[in-house]
Protein backbone atom coordinates (compact mmCIF):
# COMPACT_ATOMS: atom_id res chain seq x y z
CA UNK A 1 0.00 0.00 0.00
CA UNK A 2 1.27 3.43 -0.94
CA UNK A 3 -1.29 5.28 1.07
CA UNK A 4 -3.43 4.11 3.90
CA UNK A 5 -5.90 6.50 5.52
CA UNK A 6 -7.74 5.42 8.65
CA UNK A 7 -10.61 7.20 10.31
CA UNK A 8 -9.48 10.65 9.16
CA UNK A 9 -11.35 13.50 10.80
CA UNK A 10 -10.83 17.15 9.95
CA UNK A 11 -12.63 19.82 11.96
CA UNK A 12 -12.47 23.59 11.95
CA UNK A 13 -12.96 25.76 14.99
CA UNK A 14 -15.43 28.50 14.07
CA UNK A 15 -17.48 31.07 15.92
CA UNK A 16 -20.41 28.67 15.72
CA UNK A 17 -18.45 25.86 17.29
CA UNK A 18 -16.46 22.97 15.90
CA UNK A 19 -17.38 22.11 12.32
CA UNK A 20 -16.48 18.65 11.19
CA UNK A 21 -15.62 18.76 7.49
CA UNK A 22 -14.33 15.20 7.28
CA UNK A 23 -15.88 12.56 9.48
CA UNK A 24 -14.10 9.24 9.60
CA UNK A 25 -12.74 8.71 6.12
CA UNK A 26 -10.72 5.54 5.50
CA UNK A 27 -9.25 4.28 2.26
CA UNK A 28 -6.22 2.54 0.78
CA UNK A 29 -4.32 3.11 -2.38
CA UNK A 30 -2.08 0.55 -4.08
CA UNK A 31 0.86 1.29 -6.33
CA UNK A 32 -0.01 2.77 -9.73
CA UNK A 33 -3.69 2.60 -8.94
CA UNK A 34 -6.11 5.36 -9.89
CA UNK A 35 -8.69 6.18 -7.26
CA UNK A 36 -11.56 8.42 -8.28
CA UNK A 37 -13.07 10.55 -5.52
CA UNK A 38 -16.51 11.85 -6.43
CA UNK A 39 -18.82 14.23 -4.66
CA UNK A 40 -20.56 17.58 -4.74
CA UNK A 41 -18.84 20.81 -3.75
CA UNK A 42 -18.43 20.84 0.00
CA UNK A 43 -18.55 17.06 0.31
CA UNK A 44 -15.02 17.10 1.70
CA UNK A 45 -13.18 15.52 -1.19
CA UNK A 46 -10.63 18.30 -1.53
CA UNK A 47 -10.18 18.86 2.21
CA UNK A 48 -9.45 15.19 2.83
CA UNK A 49 -6.70 15.18 0.20
CA UNK A 50 -5.29 18.50 1.38
CA UNK A 51 -5.01 16.84 4.77
CA UNK A 52 -3.03 14.02 3.17
CA UNK A 53 -0.70 16.60 1.60
CA UNK A 54 -0.36 18.44 4.90
CA UNK A 55 -1.60 21.53 3.11
CA UNK A 56 -4.28 22.59 5.56
CA UNK A 57 -2.62 25.72 6.89
CA UNK A 58 -5.64 27.08 8.75
CA UNK A 59 -4.54 27.33 12.39
CA UNK A 60 -8.11 26.52 13.40
CA UNK A 61 -8.06 23.12 11.74
CA UNK A 62 -7.93 19.98 13.84
CA UNK A 63 -6.79 16.81 12.10
CA UNK A 64 -7.32 13.43 13.73
CA UNK A 65 -6.88 9.88 12.58
CA UNK A 66 -4.07 8.24 10.72
CA UNK A 67 -2.54 8.85 7.31
CA UNK A 68 0.22 6.42 6.44
CA UNK A 69 2.36 6.91 3.40
CA UNK A 70 4.46 3.81 2.67
CA UNK A 71 3.92 2.85 6.27
CA UNK A 72 5.03 6.21 7.65
CA UNK A 73 2.59 8.19 9.75
CA UNK A 74 2.01 11.67 8.29
CA UNK A 75 -0.35 13.07 10.93
CA UNK A 76 1.76 14.96 13.43
CA UNK A 77 4.91 14.78 11.30
CA UNK A 78 7.02 17.92 11.75
CA UNK A 79 6.57 20.44 8.90
CA UNK A 80 10.18 20.01 7.78
CA UNK A 81 9.76 16.29 7.26
CA UNK A 82 6.45 16.75 5.55
CA UNK A 83 7.99 19.30 3.21
CA UNK A 84 10.57 16.79 2.14
CA UNK A 85 7.79 14.48 0.98
CA UNK A 86 5.65 17.16 -0.59
CA UNK A 87 6.47 17.81 -4.22
CA UNK A 88 9.00 15.03 -4.05
CA UNK A 89 7.09 11.83 -3.28
CA UNK A 90 3.58 13.24 -3.10
CA UNK A 91 2.67 15.80 -5.72
CA UNK A 92 -0.52 17.68 -6.40
CA UNK A 93 -2.26 19.15 -9.42
CA UNK A 94 -4.77 21.88 -8.76
CA UNK A 95 -8.11 22.75 -10.20
CA UNK A 96 -7.48 26.11 -11.79
CA UNK A 97 -4.33 26.32 -13.90
CA UNK A 98 -5.00 30.02 -14.43
CA UNK A 99 -4.09 30.86 -10.86
CA UNK A 100 -1.96 27.90 -9.83
CA UNK A 101 1.30 29.29 -11.20
CA UNK A 102 3.11 32.31 -9.83
CA UNK A 103 2.55 34.99 -12.48
CA UNK A 104 5.97 36.60 -12.29
CA UNK A 105 8.23 33.64 -13.09
CA UNK A 106 8.68 31.57 -16.24
CA UNK A 107 7.30 28.05 -16.11
CA UNK A 108 10.80 26.68 -16.65
CA UNK A 109 12.01 28.56 -13.59
CA UNK A 110 9.07 27.31 -11.51
CA UNK A 111 9.55 23.67 -12.46
CA UNK A 112 13.31 23.87 -11.92
CA UNK A 113 12.64 25.43 -8.52
CA UNK A 114 10.78 22.32 -7.44
CA UNK A 115 13.47 19.98 -8.76
CA UNK A 116 16.18 21.92 -7.01
CA UNK A 117 14.19 21.98 -3.78
CA UNK A 118 14.45 18.19 -3.61
CA UNK A 119 17.46 17.19 -5.71
CA UNK A 120 20.97 18.43 -5.34
CA UNK A 121 21.66 19.25 -8.99
CA UNK A 122 22.94 22.24 -10.92
CA UNK A 123 20.70 24.83 -12.50
CA UNK A 124 21.57 23.76 -16.03
CA UNK A 125 20.95 20.09 -15.23
CA UNK A 126 17.59 21.06 -13.76
CA UNK A 127 16.75 23.00 -16.89
CA UNK A 128 17.57 19.98 -19.06
CA UNK A 129 15.21 17.93 -16.94
CA UNK A 130 12.52 20.63 -17.32
CA UNK A 131 12.81 20.40 -21.07
CA UNK A 132 12.38 16.61 -20.96
CA UNK A 133 9.36 16.96 -18.71
CA UNK A 134 7.68 19.52 -20.92
CA UNK A 135 8.26 17.28 -23.92
CA UNK A 136 6.73 14.42 -21.97
CA UNK A 137 3.52 16.34 -21.31
CA UNK A 138 3.29 17.10 -25.03
CA UNK A 139 4.48 20.64 -25.30
CA UNK A 140 5.04 21.17 -29.02
CA UNK A 141 8.15 23.26 -28.43
CA UNK A 142 9.49 22.49 -24.97
CA UNK A 143 12.65 24.54 -25.22
CA UNK A 144 10.79 27.69 -26.09
CA UNK A 145 8.00 27.00 -23.60
CA UNK A 146 10.48 27.04 -20.71
CA UNK A 147 10.99 30.75 -21.04
CA UNK A 148 7.26 31.49 -21.20
CA UNK A 149 5.36 33.21 -18.43
CA UNK A 150 2.09 31.61 -17.32
CA UNK A 151 -0.01 34.39 -18.85
CA UNK A 152 1.50 33.65 -22.25
CA UNK A 153 0.08 30.11 -22.28
CA UNK A 154 -3.45 28.80 -22.81
CA UNK A 155 -5.35 27.08 -19.99
CA UNK A 156 -4.60 23.61 -21.33
CA UNK A 157 -0.92 24.40 -21.72
CA UNK A 158 -0.75 25.79 -18.22
CA UNK A 159 -2.33 22.64 -16.84
CA UNK A 160 0.28 20.62 -18.73
CA UNK A 161 2.97 22.76 -17.18
CA UNK A 162 1.45 22.16 -13.73
CA UNK A 163 1.40 18.42 -14.44
CA UNK A 164 5.02 18.52 -15.61
CA UNK A 165 5.87 20.30 -12.38
CA UNK A 166 4.03 17.69 -10.30
CA UNK A 167 5.90 14.90 -12.10
CA UNK A 168 9.30 16.55 -11.88
CA UNK A 169 10.50 14.46 -8.95
CA UNK A 170 8.80 11.20 -10.00
CA UNK A 171 6.25 11.16 -7.19
CA UNK A 172 4.89 7.83 -6.04
CA UNK A 173 1.57 9.50 -5.34
CA UNK A 174 -0.13 12.14 -7.42
CA UNK A 175 -3.18 13.98 -6.12
CA UNK A 176 -5.20 15.63 -8.87
CA UNK A 177 -7.88 18.02 -7.61
CA UNK A 178 -10.39 18.47 -10.43
CA UNK A 179 -7.61 19.09 -12.95
CA UNK A 180 -10.00 19.20 -15.88
CA UNK A 181 -12.87 21.20 -14.44
CA UNK A 182 -11.62 24.59 -15.61
CA UNK A 183 -10.78 23.39 -19.12
CA UNK A 184 -12.59 22.97 -22.45
CA UNK A 185 -13.94 19.52 -23.21
CA UNK A 186 -11.38 18.83 -25.94
CA UNK A 187 -8.53 19.93 -23.72
CA UNK A 188 -9.98 17.79 -20.91
CA UNK A 189 -9.69 14.69 -23.05
CA UNK A 190 -6.04 15.46 -23.71
CA UNK A 191 -5.30 15.88 -20.01
CA UNK A 192 -7.07 12.61 -19.15
CA UNK A 193 -5.01 10.80 -21.79
CA UNK A 194 -1.94 12.31 -20.27
CA UNK A 195 -2.80 11.15 -16.73
CA UNK A 196 -3.42 7.64 -18.03
CA UNK A 197 -0.15 7.63 -19.93
CA UNK A 198 1.79 8.93 -16.96
CA UNK A 199 0.43 6.26 -14.70
CA UNK A 200 2.01 3.79 -17.12
CA UNK A 201 5.35 5.59 -17.51
CA UNK A 202 5.89 6.92 -13.98
CA UNK A 203 4.12 4.17 -12.04
CA UNK A 204 2.52 6.80 -9.84
CA UNK A 205 -0.62 6.10 -7.91
CA UNK A 206 -3.21 8.77 -8.62
CA UNK A 207 -6.04 10.15 -6.53
CA UNK A 208 -8.33 11.89 -8.94
CA UNK A 209 -10.86 14.23 -7.37
CA UNK A 210 -13.78 15.22 -9.53
CA UNK A 211 -17.49 15.82 -9.57
CA UNK A 212 -17.72 14.48 -13.09
CA UNK A 213 -18.99 10.88 -13.20
CA UNK A 214 -18.00 10.69 -16.86
CA UNK A 215 -14.34 11.36 -16.06
CA UNK A 216 -14.39 8.76 -13.29
CA UNK A 217 -15.92 6.12 -15.53
CA UNK A 218 -13.10 6.63 -18.02
CA UNK A 219 -10.13 6.81 -15.73
CA UNK A 220 -10.51 5.28 -12.30
CA UNK A 221 -9.71 1.75 -11.15
CA UNK A 222 -11.65 2.24 -7.96
CA UNK A 223 -14.16 4.88 -6.96
CA UNK A 224 -15.07 6.50 -3.68
CA UNK A 225 -18.25 8.58 -3.41
CA UNK A 226 -18.34 11.23 -0.70
CA UNK A 227 -21.23 13.08 0.86
CA UNK A 228 -21.12 15.60 3.72
CA UNK A 229 -17.64 14.57 4.84
CA UNK A 230 -18.20 10.81 4.79
CA UNK A 231 -17.65 8.07 2.27
CA UNK A 232 -21.06 6.78 1.26
CA UNK A 233 -19.99 4.19 -1.26
CA UNK A 234 -16.78 2.59 -2.39
CA UNK A 235 -16.01 -0.06 -4.96
CA UNK A 236 -14.26 -0.91 -8.18
CA UNK A 237 -15.27 1.17 -11.15
CA UNK A 238 -17.13 -1.67 -12.84
CA UNK A 239 -18.96 -2.69 -9.67
CA UNK A 240 -19.95 0.85 -8.83
CA UNK A 241 -21.21 1.75 -12.27
CA UNK A 242 -23.00 -1.53 -12.98
CA UNK A 243 -24.41 -1.95 -9.49
CA UNK A 244 -24.66 1.38 -7.63
CA UNK A 245 -25.95 0.65 -4.14
CA UNK A 246 -26.19 3.87 -2.18
CA UNK A 247 -29.24 5.97 -3.08
CA UNK A 248 -26.94 8.98 -3.52
CA UNK A 249 -24.71 7.17 -6.05
CA UNK A 250 -27.79 5.98 -7.87
CA UNK A 251 -29.16 9.47 -7.97
CA UNK A 252 -25.86 10.83 -9.28
CA UNK A 253 -25.74 8.26 -12.04
CA UNK A 254 -29.40 8.79 -12.77
CA UNK A 255 -28.79 12.46 -13.46
CA UNK A 256 -26.48 11.74 -16.39
CA UNK A 257 -28.30 11.74 -19.72
CA UNK A 258 -28.27 8.23 -21.25
CA UNK A 259 -26.56 7.84 -24.62
CA UNK A 260 -28.83 5.00 -25.74
CA UNK A 261 -32.52 4.21 -25.45
CA UNK A 262 -35.42 6.59 -25.20
CA UNK A 263 -34.61 10.21 -24.51
CA UNK A 264 -35.92 11.11 -21.02
CA UNK A 265 -38.33 14.02 -21.04
CA UNK A 266 -36.69 15.48 -18.00
CA UNK A 267 -33.43 14.45 -16.33
CA UNK A 268 -33.99 13.43 -12.72
CA UNK A 269 -32.32 15.69 -10.18
CA UNK A 270 -31.68 15.11 -6.50
CA UNK A 271 -34.20 17.19 -4.55
CA UNK A 272 -32.91 19.64 -1.97
CA UNK A 273 -29.30 20.66 -1.47
CA UNK A 274 -26.33 19.31 0.50
CA UNK A 275 -26.66 19.95 4.22
CA UNK A 276 -24.67 22.69 5.93
CA UNK A 277 -21.83 21.14 7.91
CA UNK A 278 -22.91 23.36 10.80
CA UNK A 279 -26.32 21.74 10.98
CA UNK A 280 -25.97 18.16 9.89
CA UNK A 281 -29.19 16.22 10.27
CA UNK A 282 -29.37 13.60 12.96
CA UNK A 283 -28.88 10.19 11.52
CA UNK A 284 -27.88 9.75 7.90
CA UNK A 285 -26.72 13.04 6.33
CA UNK A 286 -28.37 12.13 3.03
CA UNK A 287 -31.60 11.19 4.79
CA UNK A 288 -33.60 14.37 4.13
CA UNK A 289 -32.99 14.03 0.37
CA UNK A 290 -33.25 10.27 0.21
CA UNK A 291 -36.17 8.67 -1.65
CA UNK A 292 -35.96 5.40 0.30
CA UNK A 293 -35.37 6.55 3.85
CA UNK A 294 -37.14 4.84 6.74
CA UNK A 295 -37.03 5.03 10.53
CA UNK A 296 -33.45 3.81 11.23
CA UNK A 297 -32.08 6.56 8.91
CA UNK A 298 -33.41 9.28 11.20
CA UNK A 299 -31.38 8.27 14.22
CA UNK A 300 -28.33 6.21 13.30
CA UNK A 301 -25.39 6.93 11.01
CA UNK A 302 -24.89 3.86 8.80
CA UNK A 303 -21.37 2.41 8.64
CA UNK A 304 -19.54 1.68 5.44
CA UNK A 305 -18.35 -1.75 6.47
CA UNK A 306 -15.25 -3.49 5.25
CA UNK A 307 -16.35 -5.08 1.97
CA UNK A 308 -14.59 -4.14 -1.30
CA UNK A 309 -17.85 -2.85 -2.68
CA UNK A 310 -19.64 -1.25 0.21
CA UNK A 311 -22.28 1.40 0.76
CA UNK A 312 -23.06 3.25 3.97
CA UNK A 313 -26.80 2.70 3.92
CA UNK A 314 -29.24 0.75 6.10
CA UNK A 315 -31.27 -0.24 3.08
CA UNK A 316 -28.22 -1.87 1.52
CA UNK A 317 -27.22 -3.60 4.72
CA UNK A 318 -30.75 -4.89 4.98
CA UNK A 319 -30.78 -6.31 1.45
Amino acid sequence: MILSVRDLKVSFRTDDGLVRAIDGVSFDLAESEILGVVGESGSGKTVSLLAVMGLITDPNAVIEGSIRYKGRELVGLPPRELRRLRGNEIAMIFQDPMTALTPVYTIGWQIAEQIRAHRNISKSKAMERVEELLAEVNFPNPHEAMSRYPHQLSGGMRQRAVIAMALSCNPALLVADEPTTALDVTVQAGILDLVRKLRATHKSAVVFITHDMGVVSELADRVMVMYAGRIVERGSRTALFSDPRHPYTRALLGSIPPLTGAKPRRLPAIPGSPPSLLRLPQGCAFGPRCPVRYEPCLTGKPDLGAATHAAACYRVAQA
Binding site: M53, L55, T57, P79, R83, R84, L85, R86, G87, N88, A91, M92, F94, D96, T99, A100, L101, T102, P103, V104, E113, Q114, A117, H118, Y149, H151, V162, M165, A166
Partner: protein
Protein backbone atom coordinates in the same frame (compact mmCIF):
# COMPACT_ATOMS: atom_id res chain seq x y z
CA UNK B 1 12.31 51.95 -25.74
CA UNK B 2 13.22 55.20 -27.47
CA UNK B 3 9.57 55.68 -28.27
CA UNK B 4 8.67 55.19 -24.62
CA UNK B 5 11.25 57.75 -23.51
CA UNK B 6 10.05 60.26 -26.09
CA UNK B 7 6.47 59.72 -25.02
CA UNK B 8 7.44 60.34 -21.41
CA UNK B 9 9.27 63.46 -22.44
CA UNK B 10 6.26 64.72 -24.35
CA UNK B 11 4.08 63.95 -21.36
CA UNK B 12 6.45 65.88 -19.13
CA UNK B 13 6.32 68.92 -21.41
CA UNK B 14 2.55 68.74 -21.47
CA UNK B 15 2.27 68.54 -17.68
CA UNK B 16 4.73 71.36 -17.20
CA UNK B 17 2.91 73.54 -19.73
CA UNK B 18 -0.44 72.92 -18.08
CA UNK B 19 0.86 73.62 -14.61
CA UNK B 20 2.72 76.75 -15.68
CA UNK B 21 -0.39 78.18 -17.28
CA UNK B 22 -2.50 77.47 -14.24
CA UNK B 23 0.05 78.95 -11.81
CA UNK B 24 0.41 81.98 -14.02
CA UNK B 25 -3.31 82.57 -14.31
CA UNK B 26 -3.93 82.07 -10.60
CA UNK B 27 -1.35 84.72 -9.88
CA UNK B 28 -3.05 87.28 -12.05
CA UNK B 29 -6.61 86.19 -11.39
CA UNK B 30 -6.40 86.16 -7.59
CA UNK B 31 -9.38 88.38 -6.74
CA UNK B 32 -8.52 91.87 -5.52
CA UNK B 33 -4.84 91.27 -5.92
CA UNK B 34 -3.23 93.62 -8.33
CA UNK B 35 0.37 92.39 -8.56
CA UNK B 36 1.63 95.93 -9.01
CA UNK B 37 -0.13 97.07 -5.83
CA UNK B 38 1.38 94.12 -3.97
CA UNK B 39 4.87 94.96 -5.11
CA UNK B 40 4.53 98.72 -4.60
CA UNK B 41 3.31 98.26 -1.06
CA UNK B 42 0.55 99.95 0.94
CA UNK B 43 -0.48 103.52 0.24
CA UNK B 44 1.51 103.78 -2.98
CA UNK B 45 0.53 106.74 -5.13
CA UNK B 46 -1.04 106.07 -8.54
CA UNK B 47 2.14 107.31 -10.23
CA UNK B 48 4.28 104.82 -8.36
CA UNK B 49 1.78 102.05 -9.17
CA UNK B 50 1.95 103.01 -12.83
CA UNK B 51 5.73 103.00 -12.76
CA UNK B 52 5.81 99.58 -11.09
CA UNK B 53 3.31 98.23 -13.55
CA UNK B 54 5.40 99.39 -16.46
CA UNK B 55 8.68 98.34 -14.96
CA UNK B 56 7.49 94.73 -14.33
CA UNK B 57 5.72 94.58 -17.65
CA UNK B 58 2.25 94.11 -16.10
CA UNK B 59 0.82 96.54 -18.66
CA UNK B 60 1.55 94.16 -21.49
CA UNK B 61 -0.94 91.47 -22.60
CA UNK B 62 -0.94 88.34 -20.42
CA UNK B 63 0.27 85.96 -23.13
CA UNK B 64 3.26 88.21 -23.83
CA UNK B 65 4.09 88.20 -20.13
CA UNK B 66 3.71 84.43 -20.02
CA UNK B 67 5.98 83.81 -22.99
CA UNK B 68 8.58 86.25 -21.66
CA UNK B 69 8.61 84.51 -18.32
CA UNK B 70 8.99 81.05 -19.87
CA UNK B 71 11.77 82.33 -22.05
CA UNK B 72 13.56 83.75 -19.04
CA UNK B 73 13.27 80.46 -17.13
CA UNK B 74 14.17 77.99 -19.81
CA UNK B 75 16.18 79.86 -22.43
CA UNK B 76 18.10 82.75 -20.95
CA UNK B 77 17.83 81.61 -17.33
CA UNK B 78 17.94 85.19 -16.10
CA UNK B 79 14.49 85.45 -14.54
CA UNK B 80 14.63 87.67 -11.48
CA UNK B 81 12.47 87.75 -8.42
CA UNK B 82 9.63 90.25 -8.15
CA UNK B 83 10.36 90.73 -4.50
CA UNK B 84 14.12 91.03 -4.34
CA UNK B 85 14.85 92.63 -7.66
CA UNK B 86 18.02 91.39 -9.21
CA UNK B 87 17.88 88.08 -7.33
CA UNK B 88 18.25 85.46 -10.05
CA UNK B 89 15.64 82.75 -9.63
CA UNK B 90 17.17 79.89 -11.61
CA UNK B 91 20.49 79.77 -9.71
CA UNK B 92 18.55 79.97 -6.43
CA UNK B 93 16.58 76.87 -7.41
CA UNK B 94 19.74 75.11 -8.59
CA UNK B 95 21.38 75.78 -5.24
CA UNK B 96 18.44 74.33 -3.35
CA UNK B 97 18.14 71.15 -5.40
CA UNK B 98 21.10 69.28 -3.86
CA UNK B 99 19.80 70.02 -0.36
CA UNK B 100 16.38 68.58 -1.06
CA UNK B 101 17.71 65.66 -3.08
CA UNK B 102 20.17 64.73 -0.32
CA UNK B 103 17.43 64.85 2.27
CA UNK B 104 14.82 62.94 0.28
CA UNK B 105 17.10 60.32 -1.27
CA UNK B 106 18.65 59.41 2.08
CA UNK B 107 15.28 59.24 3.79
CA UNK B 108 13.86 57.19 0.90
CA UNK B 109 16.62 54.59 1.13
CA UNK B 110 16.05 54.37 4.84
CA UNK B 111 12.29 54.04 4.66
CA UNK B 112 12.28 51.56 1.78
CA UNK B 113 14.76 49.21 3.43
CA UNK B 114 13.26 49.42 6.91
CA UNK B 115 9.65 49.19 5.80
CA UNK B 116 10.33 46.17 3.58
CA UNK B 117 11.95 44.41 6.52
CA UNK B 118 9.08 45.39 8.83
CA UNK B 119 6.43 44.39 6.28
CA UNK B 120 8.00 40.98 5.74
CA UNK B 121 8.58 40.27 9.41
CA UNK B 122 5.05 41.37 10.35
CA UNK B 123 3.47 39.33 7.56
CA UNK B 124 5.54 36.26 8.43
CA UNK B 125 4.59 36.45 12.09
CA UNK B 126 1.08 37.77 11.56
CA UNK B 127 -1.18 37.95 14.59
CA UNK B 128 1.75 37.31 16.90
CA UNK B 129 2.89 39.82 19.51
CA UNK B 130 5.77 40.85 17.25
CA UNK B 131 3.40 41.68 14.39
CA UNK B 132 1.14 43.66 16.73
CA UNK B 133 4.10 45.51 18.18
CA UNK B 134 5.49 46.44 14.76
CA UNK B 135 2.10 47.59 13.51
CA UNK B 136 1.51 49.65 16.65
CA UNK B 137 4.91 51.28 16.22
CA UNK B 138 4.05 51.94 12.58
CA UNK B 139 0.83 53.62 13.59
CA UNK B 140 2.75 55.68 16.11
CA UNK B 141 5.16 56.76 13.37
CA UNK B 142 2.29 57.76 11.11
CA UNK B 143 0.58 59.69 13.88
CA UNK B 144 3.54 61.87 14.85
CA UNK B 145 3.51 65.14 12.88
CA UNK B 146 6.89 65.68 11.29
CA UNK B 147 7.30 69.24 12.59
CA UNK B 148 6.71 68.05 16.14
CA UNK B 149 8.94 65.00 15.76
CA UNK B 150 11.64 67.16 14.19
CA UNK B 151 11.55 69.64 17.06
CA UNK B 152 11.69 66.86 19.62
CA UNK B 153 14.64 65.35 17.79
CA UNK B 154 16.35 68.72 17.86
CA UNK B 155 15.55 69.18 21.52
CA UNK B 156 17.14 65.85 22.33
CA UNK B 157 20.12 65.87 20.00
CA UNK B 158 20.94 69.56 19.93
CA UNK B 159 20.08 70.63 23.43
CA UNK B 160 19.14 68.28 26.27
CA UNK B 161 21.33 65.30 25.51
CA UNK B 162 23.78 66.86 23.15
CA UNK B 163 26.57 66.54 25.65
CA UNK B 164 25.93 62.88 26.33
CA UNK B 165 27.92 60.21 24.48
CA UNK B 166 24.90 59.29 22.39
CA UNK B 167 24.45 62.57 20.55
CA UNK B 168 27.68 64.48 20.86
CA UNK B 169 28.44 63.67 17.23
CA UNK B 170 25.40 65.59 15.99
CA UNK B 171 26.60 68.76 14.25
CA UNK B 172 24.66 72.03 14.50
CA UNK B 173 21.67 72.53 12.22
CA UNK B 174 22.21 73.47 8.59
CA UNK B 175 23.44 71.86 5.41
CA UNK B 176 27.01 71.03 4.44
CA UNK B 177 27.95 70.47 0.83
CA UNK B 178 28.84 66.93 -0.01
CA UNK B 179 31.76 68.04 -2.16
CA UNK B 180 33.26 70.18 0.60
CA UNK B 181 32.76 67.89 3.56
CA UNK B 182 31.29 64.42 2.91
CA UNK B 183 31.42 63.40 6.55
CA UNK B 184 29.76 66.61 7.70
CA UNK B 185 27.15 66.19 4.97
CA UNK B 186 26.32 62.74 6.25
CA UNK B 187 26.28 63.65 9.93
CA UNK B 188 24.08 66.72 9.51
CA UNK B 189 21.56 64.69 7.53
CA UNK B 190 21.26 61.61 9.77
CA UNK B 191 18.68 63.07 12.13
CA UNK B 192 16.61 64.71 9.32
CA UNK B 193 16.64 61.42 7.39
CA UNK B 194 15.33 59.50 10.37
CA UNK B 195 12.70 62.14 11.10
CA UNK B 196 11.39 62.21 7.55
CA UNK B 197 11.56 58.43 7.14
CA UNK B 198 9.62 57.51 10.28
CA UNK B 199 6.25 58.57 8.85
CA UNK B 200 6.82 56.64 5.64
CA UNK B 201 8.21 53.58 7.39
CA UNK B 202 4.92 53.35 9.24
CA UNK B 203 2.79 53.71 6.12
CA UNK B 204 4.88 51.47 3.87
CA UNK B 205 5.37 48.77 6.45
CA UNK B 206 1.63 48.50 6.95
CA UNK B 207 0.86 48.59 3.24
CA UNK B 208 3.42 45.90 2.47
CA UNK B 209 2.24 43.67 5.29
CA UNK B 210 -1.34 43.86 4.01
CA UNK B 211 -0.24 43.16 0.43
CA UNK B 212 1.86 40.16 1.42
CA UNK B 213 -0.92 38.70 3.53
CA UNK B 214 -3.31 39.15 0.63
CA UNK B 215 -1.03 37.42 -1.82
CA UNK B 216 -0.45 34.58 0.64
CA UNK B 217 -4.11 33.69 0.02
CA UNK B 218 -3.46 33.16 -3.68
CA UNK B 219 -3.67 29.75 -5.32
CA UNK B 220 -0.08 29.89 -6.46
CA UNK B 221 1.08 30.02 -2.86
CA UNK B 222 -0.69 26.73 -2.29
CA UNK B 223 1.08 25.38 -5.36
CA UNK B 224 4.38 26.59 -3.93
CA UNK B 225 3.62 24.78 -0.67
CA UNK B 226 2.66 21.64 -2.60
CA UNK B 227 6.07 21.84 -4.27
CA UNK B 228 7.66 21.41 -0.87
CA UNK B 229 9.33 24.82 -0.72
CA UNK B 230 10.28 26.31 2.62
CA UNK B 231 8.04 28.98 4.13
CA UNK B 232 10.85 31.52 3.84
CA UNK B 233 11.27 30.88 0.16
CA UNK B 234 7.51 31.02 -0.42
CA UNK B 235 7.35 34.35 1.36
CA UNK B 236 10.35 35.99 -0.27
CA UNK B 237 10.17 34.56 -3.77
CA UNK B 238 6.47 34.01 -4.37
CA UNK B 239 4.50 36.37 -2.12
CA UNK B 240 6.78 39.39 -1.81
CA UNK B 241 7.41 39.95 -5.49
CA UNK B 242 3.75 40.35 -6.37
CA UNK B 243 3.15 42.44 -3.26
CA UNK B 244 5.71 45.06 -4.19
CA UNK B 245 3.49 46.59 -6.85
CA UNK B 246 1.33 48.56 -4.41
CA UNK B 247 4.50 49.56 -2.60
CA UNK B 248 6.16 50.90 -5.74
CA UNK B 249 3.05 52.84 -6.76
CA UNK B 250 2.96 54.58 -3.44
CA UNK B 251 6.67 55.21 -3.53
CA UNK B 252 6.52 56.92 -6.89
CA UNK B 253 3.85 59.33 -5.71
CA UNK B 254 5.47 60.13 -2.37
CA UNK B 255 8.97 60.42 -3.71
CA UNK B 256 7.96 62.76 -6.51
CA UNK B 257 6.01 64.96 -4.14
CA UNK B 258 8.82 65.09 -1.57
CA UNK B 259 11.50 65.98 -4.09
CA UNK B 260 9.09 68.57 -5.42
CA UNK B 261 8.97 70.39 -2.11
CA UNK B 262 6.74 68.44 0.27
CA UNK B 263 9.70 67.94 2.58
CA UNK B 264 9.17 71.60 3.56
CA UNK B 265 8.46 70.94 7.23
CA UNK B 266 11.55 68.81 7.66
CA UNK B 267 13.63 71.38 5.81
CA UNK B 268 12.40 74.22 7.99
CA UNK B 269 12.82 72.36 11.27
CA UNK B 270 16.38 71.37 10.46
CA UNK B 271 17.41 74.62 8.80
CA UNK B 272 17.95 73.03 5.42
CA UNK B 273 17.38 75.53 2.64
CA UNK B 274 15.87 73.23 0.09
CA UNK B 275 13.17 73.50 -2.53
CA UNK B 276 10.36 73.29 -0.01
CA UNK B 277 11.68 76.25 1.96
CA UNK B 278 12.25 78.20 -1.24
CA UNK B 279 8.70 77.57 -2.46
CA UNK B 280 7.23 78.37 0.91
CA UNK B 281 9.03 81.72 1.12
CA UNK B 282 8.03 82.57 -2.44
CA UNK B 283 4.40 81.79 -1.65
CA UNK B 284 4.56 84.03 1.42
CA UNK B 285 5.43 87.06 -0.73
CA UNK B 286 3.56 85.88 -3.82
CA UNK B 287 6.80 85.99 -5.74
CA UNK B 288 5.56 84.68 -9.08
CA UNK B 289 8.92 84.04 -10.79
CA UNK B 290 10.16 81.97 -7.90
CA UNK B 291 6.87 80.07 -7.55
CA UNK B 292 6.92 79.42 -11.26
CA UNK B 293 10.48 78.10 -11.23
CA UNK B 294 10.01 75.79 -8.25
CA UNK B 295 6.70 74.48 -9.55
CA UNK B 296 8.23 73.73 -12.94
CA UNK B 297 11.00 71.86 -11.24
CA UNK B 298 8.59 69.92 -9.03
CA UNK B 299 6.32 68.88 -11.88
CA UNK B 300 9.32 67.67 -13.81
CA UNK B 301 10.27 65.43 -10.90
CA UNK B 302 6.78 64.05 -10.45
CA UNK B 303 6.66 63.01 -14.09
CA UNK B 304 10.16 61.51 -13.93
CA UNK B 305 9.29 59.62 -10.76
CA UNK B 306 6.20 58.23 -12.46
CA UNK B 307 8.26 57.10 -15.42
CA UNK B 308 10.65 55.30 -13.08
CA UNK B 309 7.71 53.66 -11.33
CA UNK B 310 6.33 52.39 -14.63
CA UNK B 311 9.73 51.00 -15.46
CA UNK B 312 9.93 49.18 -12.13
CA UNK B 313 6.43 47.76 -12.70
CA UNK B 314 7.67 46.18 -15.88
CA UNK B 315 10.62 44.68 -14.06
CA UNK B 316 8.35 43.31 -11.33
CA UNK B 317 5.49 41.98 -13.38
CA UNK B 318 6.08 40.30 -16.74
CA UNK B 319 2.36 40.55 -17.53
CA UNK B 320 2.87 44.25 -18.17
CA UNK B 321 5.57 43.59 -20.76
CA UNK B 322 4.09 43.82 -24.20
CA UNK B 323 6.22 42.64 -27.03
Amino acid sequence: MIYAILRRFGQMLFVMFGISVIVFLIFFATPGADPAARIAGRNASPEVLEAVRHSFGFDRPLYVQYVTMMEKIFVTGDLTSFVNRGWKVVPAVMDSIPVTLSLVFGAAILWVVVSIVIGIVAAATRDSWLDRLLMALGLLGISMPVYWLGEVMNLITQSRYHDSWAFSWVPPLGYKNFSDDPKGWFLTLVIPWITLAILYIGIYGRVLRAAIIESLQEDYIRTARAKGLSETRILLRHALRTSLIAFVTLFGLDFGALVGGSALLTEVVFGLHGIGKLTYDALQNLDLPMIMATVMYASMFVVVANAVVDFVYILLDPRLRTS
